[in-house]
Amino acid sequence: MANKLVSDMCLPPHLAHLLAARRLTTAKDVLSLPEVELMSLLDAGLATARDAVCHVSEFACPPCQTALALLDERVRLGGGGRLATTLCGLDEALGGGIPLGKLTEVVGPSGIGKTQFCLKLALLATLPECYGGLNGRVVYIDTESKFSSRRMIEICQKSFPQIFRQEGLAQKMAGRILVMRPASLSDFTKSLEQMKVTLLQNDVKLLIVDSVAAFMSSENERGTTGFTQHPLRWALSFLKSIAELTRIPVVVSNQVRSQSNDDGYHYSFEVKRMGDGDGAERLESHLVAALGIQWAHAVTIRLVFESHSGQRFIKVAKSPMSPAVAFPFIVESSGITLLNDEGIDVSGPEITSIRCQGQNLLGLLPLEN
């Protein structure tokens, strides 16, 4: 909509001529100027400028729907649309699984099982609908070279022995997973750009990016003076628009980094009241997601993988429809298995914290600071 051409808008002729003469060809050109600047550029009065903005806005404005129509559409397209993770408790908490058309993030320390989770999802999506899959292709962007076909097939054979007994099924299913290994950030953005077309044409039903933070280490510098726009921000809105446009689930994994002391943790009005008492709290929360708070705002669902008190947990840290709940899990030959499907209630901001226990893991953490 933003790039809609002014010439296609059937504006009154005098306005159309005026805009064309000043090279304001798209809605974006016209609308991203403040009124006064538009006046001086058009060399016209306020009334004309307002008239132009008014007309262009009406054409560039997306259509309006009532929430009821939205619900009807959702029902018509098949009951909301979820990709079941086959982890019963988690599926229940998420209302059936990973939602189609949304951006879901999996975040946690290295070695905890993020890739295991992604591998299983990838194969699940290729399965025919009668087995709970989406019966389509999967694009798997593997930025860290961690994708292992053997492990993926092992996970699935162990978790669904009855399905994979069929001759040649594993080959057929694995054949539907397209793995891409971009080598750099520019490679990555390029492949994303190409993807939009590919996804629609090739019946792709799931997009996984594991992990999106790999190219970030150098980009994550947050200066005190202003911020620069980096390509990852673009990738973020792009991934979201892909998800919505094609109505497929997009799953991205994110790394963690240790929290630096400078990280913003409180509002100014809180700090005043608490004085220096927040030092202890800072020590407690060891890790933060590698992509900062802006990224966290943008994902619709965030699953945190963490380990503490000798146990690994999956937490539903952000989701518009789920309670704050954690599930203990183990990783075995059949992939991730929940120890119980009840889940444990988590109160307060603990749900968003990422804890990590055990020296062997700490040694492997990407310490960028």
Partner: protein, 290 residues
């Protein structure tokens, strides 16, 4: 018309005296947030004719509060509501219609609880209270770029002329696209201030509430990074009220950061399966705590 009133009209066209403003203010109904405590610090709820900004960290419940308001504005006048419609401008794609349905159900079940006799007497009124009718009263715009966001705000004026019963406009969130792909920060500030003026004008002339949800960012002040709402200092002038949602220990809290008429205050609240409610009222289905 009393003689002094006529004199006033002649004195300054379009002005209104402070006393009239007060009585008008007192007759106004407010949009309930679902939580009595939260209404308390807001002076009864979200006010019409004002721009209210609500900010907070991811997952604190901004979208939940936004959806809750879109539902609550539709509570019929008979049940103490405004009986209006809502416009929901979604820039982030976080509007989950299943959740809206759930919150609408929660709202209806609460109405039934508070007005049991009402419900018995008028079976005709009950027909009104279906979650579907609440959903039909939400006009939803999905915005995919900042150009569209500007366009929709410009277009609102016309839309509102055709839909006079709209009493709340919610933008979730006002920040997203402006932070993603606007390169020229000085231009961004000017465009944003133009938008905020338009929103302020719409809220006054159509007697509706404008609620802007905002993201947080970190800012370097006085030697340390602190959380603050996004879009910078000049943007913070553009709202009448500013509410910040934050974690205090294990509780969700709301802090009224800015208001021309109310004292700075904070209160806990909760997000339950029915929507936003008082902190004490959370139904304890799951009791085990980590």
């Amino acid at each position: 018309m009393a003689p002094n009133e006529t004199a006033q009209k002649l004195l300054l066209q379009g002005a209104q005296n402070a006393w009239d403003m007060l009585s008008e203010e007192q007759s106004q109904k407010h949009i309930t947030t679902g939580s009595g405590d939260l209404n308390g610090i807001l002076g009864g709820g979200i006010h019409c004719k004002e721009v209210t900004e609500i900010g907070g960290v991811p997952g604190i419940g901004k979208t939940q509060l936004g959806i809750q308001l879109a539902i609550n504005v539709q509570i019929p006048v008979d049940y103490g509501g405004l009986g209006g419609k809502a416009i929901y401008i979604d820039t982030e794609g976080s509007f989950m219609v299943e959740r809206v349905y759930q919150i609408a159900e929660g709202c209806i079940s609460d109405i039934m609880e508070y007005f049991p006799c009402h419900h018995d007497k008028s079976s005709s009124g009950q027909e009104n209270l279906q979650p579907e009718s609440f959903l039909a009263g939400i006009y939803y715009f999905r915005i995919c770029s900042y150009t569209e966001q500007i366009a929709v705000i410009n277009y609102l004026e016309k839309f509102l002329r055709e839909h006079k019963d709209v009493r709340i406009v919610i933008i979730d969130s006002v920040t997203f696209h402006f932070r993603q792909d606007f390169d020229d920060l000085a231009l961004r500030t000017r465009v944003l201030s133009g938008l905020s003026l338009k929103l302020m004008k719409i809220s006054k002339s159509y007697n509706l509430a404008v609620v802007l949800l905002n993201q947080v960012t970190t800012k370097f002040t006085e030697g340390s990074f602190q959380l603050t709402l996004a879009l910078g200092d000049s943007w913070s002038h553009s709202c009448t009220n500013r509410l910040i949602l934050y974690w205090k220990g294990n509780e969700r809290c709301a802090y009224l950061d800015k208001s021309p008429s109310l004292p700075v205050a904070s209160t806990p609240y909760a997000v339950t399966s029915k929507g936003v409610r008082d902190a004490g009222s959370s139904s304890c289905k799951r009791v085990r705590v980590m």
